[in-house]
Symmetry: C2
Subunit: 420 residues, 2 copies
């Protein structure tokens, strides 16, 4: 019997080519799993009707993502499915008649939309209905709550997410899946609701690094990525930014376990000091977020402010009060820190850092603290969460590997040595 929960894109392609699978098989298997688990997990805002598959006559090879079911975070426009931006209906406009760019790209590659996954309100902090599949009494994290949960629950092998603060890496850590955020500006965000454009980054969740590599090379038009089996000569900077006291013993254990695995594969680990230009990056990230959000959501604020959550209203008020001068100071601080990081990158191939302060929080009043992502998101660098460590209670605690901008392939190459 086919184990759809462990299927990879590459294996499915092979099965298609050999006639073992037909293009709708994976989609049907996912749909069954969703029907079984959705009442508990609530990862979906809406589900797509059964897709119509173009017949393949054997003359052409199947397209790279043929038949791969994909969950779409519900801030991404889809022409044939409604978009609610996590607003639970108070934003009543129906989204665009046009697909977001990435939806068109996925469709051209043969992927199948599974549906729209639950997002927090406008991808900010107001928790959604979604439960953590590893323990439904805990948050899945946010803002890409439904996407992380859907992949963790085996409902889809791939789901798109976005990160403006920590919305891919943190839920990936909490839900125990791979989460990847490429270099800022690499993948098109056209047709995706903007929160803070200089931070907003499109990425995704998968169960396997193999699938993350496939998605990256096909969507970004990159050369194939080498899979490393050993890490001999790889220089790893261990970083606890922004400060150690926040880290739980679980997160510390996850970090140490990853470091020791990397060492055993031949990597050289040393502590990294990020220097003065990294001070206050968390504050600068918040300033940029607030200034840009009140502008990006100017029209939504006009129409729907009364229905907005206090957290979102607070952010927009903060942005309204922030002067251009302070915004630009924060952008200049980010420019300086990017330069400093590039200089540092001459001494390190990747940085190893926490993904979150610890396991997913109990309850559903908060999506958790994005503190370990703020600086990296601000710097626009590629980050990947790897679900390498599980507590004795069976909860995942991820670690994050980070590289300099434009080093995404190298990052994925190194990450693949730790997790196939």
């Amino acid at each position: 019997m086919t184990d759809w929960n462990r299927m990879t894109i590459a294996c499915f392609q092979l099965g298609l080519a050999e006639g073992e699978f037909s293009p709708l098989d994976w989609w049907m298997a996912c749909r069954e799993r969703i029907d079984a688990l959705e009442p508990d997990i609530q990862a979906w805002e809406c589900l797509a009707p059964e897709p119509v598959i173009t017949r393949y006559d054997g003359g052409d090879p199947y397209p790279t993502l043929c038949g791969v079911p994909v969950g779409i975070k519900d801030i991404i426009d889809t022409a044939r499915l409604p978009t609610t931006w996590g607003t639970r209906g108070y934003h009543r406009v129906n989204g665009s008649d046009m697909d977001a760019a990435v939806i068109t790209q996925l469709s051209q590659l043969g992927a199948l939309l599974m549906g729209k996954t639950v997002s927090t309100e406008y991808a900010y902090f107001q928790p959604s209905k979604t439960r953590n599949p590893r323990d439904p009494s805990r948050t899945p994290g946010g803002s890409s709550s439904g996407s992380a949960a859907a992949v963790a629950a085996g409902m889809v092998p791939v789901a798109l997410g976005t990160q403006t603060v920590g919305s891919i890496i943190r839920p990936a850590s909490y839900c125990g899946v791979v989460g990847f955020k490429p270099t800022h500006g690499t993948l098109s965000v056209t047709g995706i609701k903007a929160l803070a454009p200089s931070l907003d980054t499109l990425g995704w969740f998968t169960r396997h690094m193999d699938d993350t590599r496939t998605l990256f090379t096909t969507l970004a038009g990159s050369d194939p990525i080498t899979i490393l089996e050993r890490l001999d000569g790889v220089r790893v900077g261990l970083c606890r930014l922004p400060s150690t006291p926040l880290l739980s013993s679980d997160a510390t254990a996850a970090l140490e376990s990853a470091a020791s695995k990397m060492t055993s594969l031949g990597a050289h680990i040393s502590s990294v000091d990020l220097g003065a230009s990294f001070d206050n990056l968390v504050t600068h990230q918040q300033n940029i977020l607030a200034y840009e959000a009140v502008r990006a959501l100017a029209s939504e604020r006009t129409h729907f402010e009364a229905s907005m959550s206090p957290a979102l209203k607070g952010l927009l008020d903060e942005g309204q009060d922030l002067s251009l001068e302070r915004y630009w100071q924060s952008r200049q601080a980010a420019d300086r820190a990017r330069l400093a990081l590039s200089q540092l990158a001459e001494r390190f191939d990747v940085i190893l850092a926490p993904s979150a302060p610890g396991v997913a929080l109990k309850g559903h009043e908060s999506t958790g603290d994005p503190i370990y992502s703020r600086a990296w998101t601000l710097l626009g660098v590629p980050c990947v969460n790897l679900p390498l460590y599980w507590t004795p209670q069976g909860l995942p605690v991820g670690i994050q590997l980070i590289a300099d901008r434009y080093q995404d392939q190298r990052l994925l190459s190194i990450a693949s040595a730790l997790m196939p």
Copy 2:
């Protein structure tokens, strides 16, 4: 009699406060002028119905842009007016039900939409129907063709434009108006059709520098901008980038005339050598444009490719063939050049450069060459076109002042010394 063609926002505000004007007066005057001139100029894609003005009871001051008629480039979403993206109807979807962020901002400040101004196809190079008001046998430039022409013809005091290649500075030069492109990322492009997000910049055209300053401080939330009367101590770098042979004698005369005016006001002019990192910026700009455009317009390409102009199709094909590796090489070259420019900016307050190779071209088969804007757009720096020079035949040839990123206020301050 009120000379509406010379009216500034500040004067109108004064007139409103003193009861000399009512909030709809300027709009009505503009509408009359449009009715008279539009058959020759064809600057408008559509005109707004007469606005409904909220009554002011005298208790509150009038909002900053109260009653100011604004033309809106037709790639900017407007909830109550259709958007055609310069596609002459082949893009049949109707635009968003939501206003672009800048439209909401303008409305909150009291500005009145005059209508949508003609854009070239998706803000790329396919010429539109618009004529140059200074000589209708010539191009107004593009892609913000209608906005530049409408302001030059006195149809509106302000019109929004966008620049991805040279779409504000070049038409401003050809039409003889002020054109301003702020630091990239300063004004929200939410709700504006993306062509190449890392280049796309929102800006505008005005008749007076005074109005450009007002718009900038209100939309960006900046402190007031000092008006300089003299330029004592101001260091100006004279730059003919990318190469002198393209410059017509008219453009050279415009540049020399501006230099001598700046000198007479006390500025110190010297040649600026932009160094090795500026080599090939034009090519890098084109690579980034092509790679991002084929992604940003992925959905449009799927639906409407057959109707697209050969120029646009060519750009998208070029982007399709461009690898991620080449795209990133170009982004890294841009990063290096931005750094080099910042270092250079320690020696210069502003750079003086051509806006275009010469006067507007005869005919309507081309919107002219954006060669003198490509590098500056790539670098994300603020640029202003000043219509300081007119040929003996009465055609304008602008010059461009450029500052380092985040120096917009200083740039506008210096530019104001040359033109009130």
